[in-house]
Subunit: 138 residues, 3 copies
Amino acid sequence: MKSYRKELWFEIPARRGFVNITRTVQECVSDSGVQEGLVLCNAMHITASVFINDDESGLHHDYEVWLEKLAPHAPVEQYRHNVGEDNADAHMKRQIMGREVVVAITDGLLDLGTWEQIFYGEFDGRRRKRVLVKIIGE
Amino acid sequence: MKSYRKELWFEIPARRGFVNITRTVQECVSDSGVQEGLVLCNAMHITASVFINDDESGLHHDYEVWLEKLAPHAPVEQYRHNVGEDNADAHMKRQIMGREVVVAITDGLLDLGTWEQIFYGEFDGRRRKRVLVKIIGE
Amino acid sequence: MKSYRKELWFEIPARRGFVNITRTVQECVSDSGVQEGLVLCNAMHITASVFINDDESGLHHDYEVWLEKLAPHAPVEQYRHNVGEDNADAHMKRQIMGREVVVAITDGLLDLGTWEQIFYGEFDGRRRKRVLVKIIGE
């Protein structure tokens, strides 16, 4: 069994944003030499997400509006977590979008459906944060 | 290490629906010959879900009502994604229910709790769509 | 390839509660002897969750309030599932928080970010319930 580990670093200039990391994760898979296996890709921070969905700017706008409706940022005083912090909503948004994805590797490639793209989802940005890519297989 | 891959195809006649795929996934596990390992089971489409919960029709009705409240289908114009499409809500419903499950394989069987059942969750049906089953182990 | 399986048992005295299980999962990893691999940690019940977030009591209070807003317990008659039961909301809360986490194992340790902690999330407690820890790797 082979294993592989890499950290990907991000610094999103705004509080929130989505970054397509599919190509970078595929590069990790290629570097690993794994032909058949699984790749785990997870946020290492608890106010960020790794998720799979469409690379379509209208949808990303819709997600932003929708997540803000389900877990509003303001007023920040509505959350007990926000003592010296203002990111409680980010901890909630990330639970809806998820911490991680597990993707199959087949013939050395990410085994994704036609429109599946892997995203880093940031909900409390403006600082350096990281994603873990861990691969096991043969 | 053994690996196994299979696509399961679905065509749900309505926009939304849930299909219990536990038995089919167990057949994949049996076919794979894996005794100890992990099975990844994921929607290959971004408006569908694979999730684990109860096989109880009242609950499925409750999920339908609840998801419609959290991410309403209509009016379709509320979503920027809906330009020539009407499925933005399906992209949201699927984030709540999740893209994938990872299930343990022990002694050649899906290692599930008493009431755990694996479902395909469709949120934009009436066309052929697929689920990936990927197994690794020994 | 090595594999390892353990059930963790819980009996939360209230309907809802969060328990930090990070140390226990690390003990499983150490027992397994796996240096490089993946650990799957999932609720074996469909009204409970395993998730990763912050070990901060203010945030846990915020989650409680937020989940109750998104999927209210009462009135119990609003859910068709609640025929002889009153836990339909728990099936929903668990979908938002998720069934499982998959965590990388690197050098024999859980490969977690600085603030990542693994929690058992109970939404229908006052009875014995269990979590599965399954490890594969080398």
